[in-house]
């Protein structure tokens, strides 16, 4: 037995437990769920095989498309909100003085709060009767800016983005700071010798060196926001009249509120497909940018 074969065998055995758990709790449920998507099933009683009917209903359901659109808005807000803000903060808060540490902690804080708590806090900020935001606008003499932040479909989706961005800056900030600390100091010295400063240094040295981290952050961001559910569920429940529905809440409502398990399964399969496409697409885009 050669040593490479032995190592390889050991790697397989070492991975086996994790692989088994992963397939039991992730892969198999995904396949099951896609399979249930072919049935008309209320969760109780017999399931009736209906072929692609659920999937074609998804394509024809305007609420699904609205959820998809809202979800894309959330993805955009996360990718173009969370990541750049986290990056800028990371660049500003790189030093280890106490004030920097304090601000870093403050930015990370929402992350350790349960999203139910965050949802309730922001629910009160936006509250139509006793909300701080409307109260603040009142006292600044900006009555005309007052809105029903969560009740008016024209603004509710945008109101929801603020807590979503605010809530998840923390982890990206930590990732970026770690990446920035990993840049070898020789690079800094070399940049100094070559006379690169300020934005020139940022764009030619710092950003390319942490580009991989940014890519990871963007992927996490996309997959995270496609799954986003908790904050919206607490704050609006997808309402009023489906105006803030996201893919996950649409799936949840169909499955657990009106008990169409088959249809809900089909929707979750659709979500997986959309997520895979988005992530593949973003990977491709960022790869070509790197060249």
């Amino acid at each position: 037995m050669t040593s490479t074969v032995r190592t390889r065998r050991f790697i397989v055995i070492g991975l086996l437990p994790a692989l088994l758990l992963f397939s039991f709790f992730v892969i198999i449920p995904i396949i099951w769920s896609a399979y249930y998507g072919f049935f008309d099933w209320k969760g109780i009683g017999t399931a009736k095989f209906i072929g692609f009917d659920n999937y074609s209903e998804i394509i024809h359901d305007e609420v699904f498309w609205r959820s998809l659109k809202n979800n894309m808005l959330v993805v955009a807000a996360s990718v173009f909100g969370q990541v750049p803000i986290a990056l800028v903060l990371a660049l500003l808060l790189l030093k280890n003085s106490w004030i920097h540490k304090f601000i870093r902690t403050a930015v990370f804080m929402p992350m350790v709060l349960s999203s139910v708590v965050v949802g309730i806090i922001w629910g009160y900020i936006y509250h139509p009767e006793i909300g701080i935001l409307n109260f603040l606008l009142d006292s600044l003499g900006l009555e005309s800016w007052k809105r029903q932040w969560l009740g008016d479909p024209a603004v509710s989706m945008y109101s929801l983005m603020v807590p979503i961005i605010w809530n998840y800056i923390g982890p990206y900030l930590i990732m970026f700071i770690a990446a920035l600390h990993n840049i070898p100091s020789e690079m800094d010295d070399a940049a100094k010798i070559d006379g690169a400063k300020g934005s020139r240094k940022l764009f030619s040295l710092t950003l390319p060196l942490i580009w991989d981290t940014i890519k990871v952050a963007v992927v996490l961001c996309i997959s995270g926001s496609l799954k986003s559910f908790d904050l919206i569920y607490i704050m609006t429940g997808g309402g009023p009249a489906h105006s803030t529905e996201l893919l996950a809440s649409y799936m949840y409502n169909n499955t657990f509120a009106i008990y169409r398990f088959g249809y809900g399964s089909a929707v979750s399969t659709a979500i997986i497909i959309i997520s895979l496409f988005l992530i593949a697409g973003s990977q491709y885009l960022m790869k070509s940018k790197n060249r």
């Binding site: 055995i13 070492g14 086996l16 437990p17 088994l20 758990l21 039991f24 209320k42 969760g43 109780i44 009683g45 629910g123 936006y126 509250h127 139509p128 009767e129 029903q148 932040w149 969560l150 009740g151 008016d152 479909p153 609006t236 429940g237 309402g239 009023p240 009249a241 489906h242 409502n253 657990f256 509120a257 009106i258 008990y259 169409r260 398990f261």
Partner: protein, 437 residues
Amino acid sequence: MNKKLSIVATSLVTTSILLAACGSNGDTNSNSNGKEKVMLSLWHNYTGDDQRAQTMRAIIEQYQKDHPEVELDVQAIPPDGYRTRLKTVAAANEMPDLFVMWPGVMTKEFQSGNLLQPINELLDSKKEWKDGFLPGSFDGFSIGEDIFSAPIALSPTSILYYNKSILEENGLQPPKTWDELMNAVTVLKEKKITPIALGNKAAWLAQSSIFSSLADRVTGTEWFLKAAAQDGAKFTDPEFVEALTYLQDLGKAGAFQDGFNSIDNTQMEQYFAQGKAAMMIDGGWALTNLAASASKETLEQMGATVLPSIPGGKGDPNTISGVVGTGIGMSSKVKDAKKQAAYDLMYAMAGPDAQKRVLESNQLVSYKVDLDKTKVTPIFAEVYDLVNSVTTTPVYDGVMSSAVADELNNGLQDLLMGGKPEEIAKKVQAAQEKEAK
């Protein structure tokens, strides 16, 4: 050798972890005398701090004390998640022995999945108890001759609560007709008082509390039952569109406070309890909350009546939409000694004593009990009298399937934001047609 050992060890660990994760405990158990103890599982949603929940918990504890030969496995699940949990175990065919369940759609679904067994035997053995229920109490729990539960609550869903002092100060009377209601809205609006408190975030409230009665006034009960069965009537019929238009007019007149789509039922009850709104259209469930959150003086200021009549409406104005509330259901798997124990517990929780204690906890019941008015709040006594003097009409989501009710709920939210009544009617009709297929 060493390598082989490690392979064996790794796979052992893996399998044991997996087995531990998948395994479950058996449910037979014997006590020290060698005599078999009866294991009985019960799921309920009496987790709150309100009087009714406390009373029910006390009854269950008492039963356990009186029956040492029974080992109760009680799971108390908060109301918000209860239905979902129950439906989930129903999907997996792992029902507890006894559980709190709803009449109507849920009973039908469970019965068609063979998850329930009838309790006619128990009811017939206690004739006096069975006869004590108000007429129609078992309707929602019956399929054919089989009765599956006895209700422990009555939920009128649409009572017009009003604040006597606010109405008096503005020279108004509790509205009896639609015009009086619209007039009250205008007068109160001018004085910058919220006419009607509404919290429709969860979307079912406008449907269950306002629309179920309002639409009944316009269309009459017969039309609704026909439309729900798609038998000679459709939701696109002019009378349904007219009912939707009435609700929209009320919204357009500014009857509800700002942001009613983003506050919930409890917040709306508090808003009314604090005297910030002149009226509120809410169900009988508000009574326990009001008793808990309003001061004694405010409670004395509250009155209750039926929704106003509609000019030319086909329905009887002296009605309240309502359903009998939850009861205890029994799993089809319960047999032998377990069955007797289950019957005893069911009787303890829904029998005459329990009904009386529940009523005295400010919760209406569908059972003939003489109410001792000193034990409850004045508004409860008023609602109790009101409910006993009117007839009950169906609630929309008690008759419609959950998918159609969901369409209507969202439609009503849309309607109050300016959606077209005709289009909402069309969507409801489409959902109903799909369901009938």
